[in-house]
Symmetry: C2
Subunit: 412 residues, 2 copies
């Protein structure tokens, strides 16, 4: 019998009526003779409300207790959805993360799944029940509750699909799928019918938040076919799978835009070995993720080192760098808000020449200056002025004809 | 090092301020060099709110899911109290019922504790931490969540005290202790300093709801000294322990009043063997608890069978009895609301004659008619008109001089 996993986010189960809507959708799938395991997030804003409660007790509440506290949100929605399923005549059983067999690594608030021992879930499915699993949580070897961090329920769903050897893991969300670019930015944006794990990873980590990167990584590792689709209608969304199954000719699948960037420049760095290492390890030690990095040789044996960090890390980064700049004998420390990163992503890029040139040409045509360029095998990113982001996205979308589906999507 | 268990009910942890008050009290005890394990109920009305949520999904939500749902209430309060303790500098760790080692019998909503394997709690205490345990819950052999029914947190606390071999189990509540009679009914009511398990069992099951009967039973079985006391001040409450430690001369410890009674009468029952059994097994099959039972021989080989049930069971009882009355050839089925049960309880009663006579005399002196009488070794109950309950309680309280402490209490 076919077996699938469906994951519903917090907005899909934010009240009793919506829970019944989800129950009906699940029951319809079950009625087609398919075994269904469902993973649910906490109802609506529950997680934020619980965090707020903890925040009223302590500025930095202990992680172990915070994980226990947060895990209750998903327990409630799993229990209620299971009740709703049974109420409409579809037999079901709810499981907490630990009951479902999620063994985690002991990092209380940002745990990784070590093993998914889905025996009880399988048993429930085989006895004809829908298994409803609380997402976002597991237990470590001591039996302590761990939560999986933001997007954790996506990871639970994909890991469960792997453990169950499910045909597909359906991620229900409030968007129709993965688009060539944010439709709010570029109205001509086209929904992709297929995308590879690697492309989605680049898109997701670049700011297209349809599916958590760790869930995509997990899907890639175990070859789980992921279907990102809307919970509001029955239309097919976007299928995420291995590159091999996509049609040839794919060059660019999408454009990712990220406004959450600050450019930091260390000017006039003496050209000695180990200086860059000192800068970036000081930042890493504080847990600051550094993105686009460029080092340019200027004159008189001096370099400029440019990079970007997230807005929230900017203050901490400057605090770390100020004494260091003096220490290494650099001339100046500058930073600039109001920058944005625009990236094109495509698995086919690796075999195509001229893609980077095309992107630069599109931007030049729109009169947009590029501050930093960074490339990988399947993406090209440019840092530009934040107020030119929309124009840039439109120009690139047009240049590569993304609305016409030169990229993947024609095969379905 | 001395070791105690403290239990705080839902009203004691109903908001963040109250949680900090509890934390301070716990920390003060800990600061005196005592190892403290704390058992908490869900915050305020959380349990009722969760039940209401479930009730909006199904008239009779599945028990397994209901238990999972309800268990989250105590997880939240345990996590928050542990955070508050750490915030005021008292190291602590929160445990769910299953983590604390509560193994239950698999009855989802009314489970019994089979074993309390308190290894992790002991470990926490021995490492200097306060252990905060979510009350009211455990896991069965399959790992499914079970809740312990109303008053379940009391039972968790007493069972934990037994498992930890604690000196005392302190039950913090919104009353000052156990009284000779409900102080709202009889202002002269006196707080008892000591009471035996058996007496409190009779009082509790008769309606003096200071401590759940199952908790008292558990305390009796394991010889746990229970201290019922107020969470609003530091005064000593009532100590519950074995009879042996109480002074001699104790006759009556208290008066219990219960208005939640309906009298049912099956009139003109043919005097044949097995008829009473049919009546009461039909009621038991529907889960209806029958209280005071009297069978009186009338005339012509016919009996009247009288008994009481709780108000909530009245409709169901009549539904069960109506066809049965016809079937067994009884003449009539009557029921009467507006009755109340008043009982006197005392471990010393067994060695004292004339106690029953004294009770009847007190009631007669007040001109109160007795409809049913029932006696056990340590209690005597009378069914009277509900609107005479207060007069009856005062008359009996005066008759036995309970305000002067003839009953237990003088020894401390």
């Amino acid at each position: 019998m076919a077996r699938i996993v469906q994951k519903y986010g917090g907005t899909s189960v934010s009240d009793i009526e919506k829970i019944f809507n989800v129950a009906k959708r699940v029951a319809n799938t079950r009625a087609r003779g398919i075994q269904v395991a469902v993973v649910v997030s906490a109802m609506g804003d529950t997680t934020d409300e619980l965090l707020e409660l903890a925040g009223r007790i302590a500025a930095r509440p202990p992680e172990r207790e915070t994980a226990l506290l947060l895990s209750t949100g998903e327990l409630v929605s799993a229990a209620l959805l299971s009740m709703a399923l049974r109420e409409i005549g579809c037999d079901a059983a709810a499981f907490s993360g630990p009951q479902a067999g999620v063994l985690t690594d002991g990092r209380y608030l940002n745990a990784r799944i070590l093993e998914f021992n889905a025996g009880r879930v399988k048993e429930a499915l085989e006895s004809g029940k829908v298994a409803v699993v609380a997402g976002f949580q597991g237990a470590d070897a001591r039996g302590d509750i761990n939560t999986l961090g933001r997007g954790g329920s996506d990871t639970t769903a994909v890991a469960l699909a792997a453990a169950l050897d499910a045909e597909v893991c359906e991620i229900y969300t409030d968007v129709d799928g993965v688009f060539t670019v944010d439709p709010q930015l570029v109205p001509k944006a086209r929904k992709l019918q297929e995308i590879t794990y690697d492309e989605l990873l680049e898109l997701a980590s670049l700011g297209a938040k349809v599916l958590h990167p760790r869930a995509v990584e997990c899907g890639k590792e175990h070859g789980v076919v992921i279907h990102v689709r809307s919970s509001f209608h029955e239309e097919t969304g976007t299928i995420v799978k291995k590159a091999a199954s996509l049609e040839k000719g794919t060059v660019i699948s999408g454009i990712a835009c990220d406004k959450d960037q600050v450019k930091i420049a260390v000017i006039g760095v003496p050209d000695r070995p180990g200086i860059a290492a000192r800068i970036f390890s000081a930042l890493a030690k504080e847990g600051i993720n550094v993105d686009l990095i460029v080092q340019s040789i200027r004159r008189n044996g001096e370099n400029d080192i440019l990079f970007t960090v997230k807005e929230e890390d900017c203050g901490k980064a400057l605090f770390v760098l100020e004494p260091l700049v003096a220490e290494i004998g650099a001339k100046e420390l500058l930073h600039k808000h109001d920058v944005a990163k625009i990236s094109i992503v495509g698995a086919g890029m690796i075999h195509s020449s001229g893609v980077a040139a095309g992107m630069f040409e599109a931007l030049a045509g729109a009169g947009i200056n590029i501050e930093i360029i960074s490339t990988s095998e399947i993406k090209i990113s440019c840092l530009i002025a934040a107020d030119r982001l929309q124009e840039a996205a439109e120009a690139i979308h047009n240049y590569f004809g993304l609305e016409k589906g030169v990229s993947p999507g024609k095969s379905q």
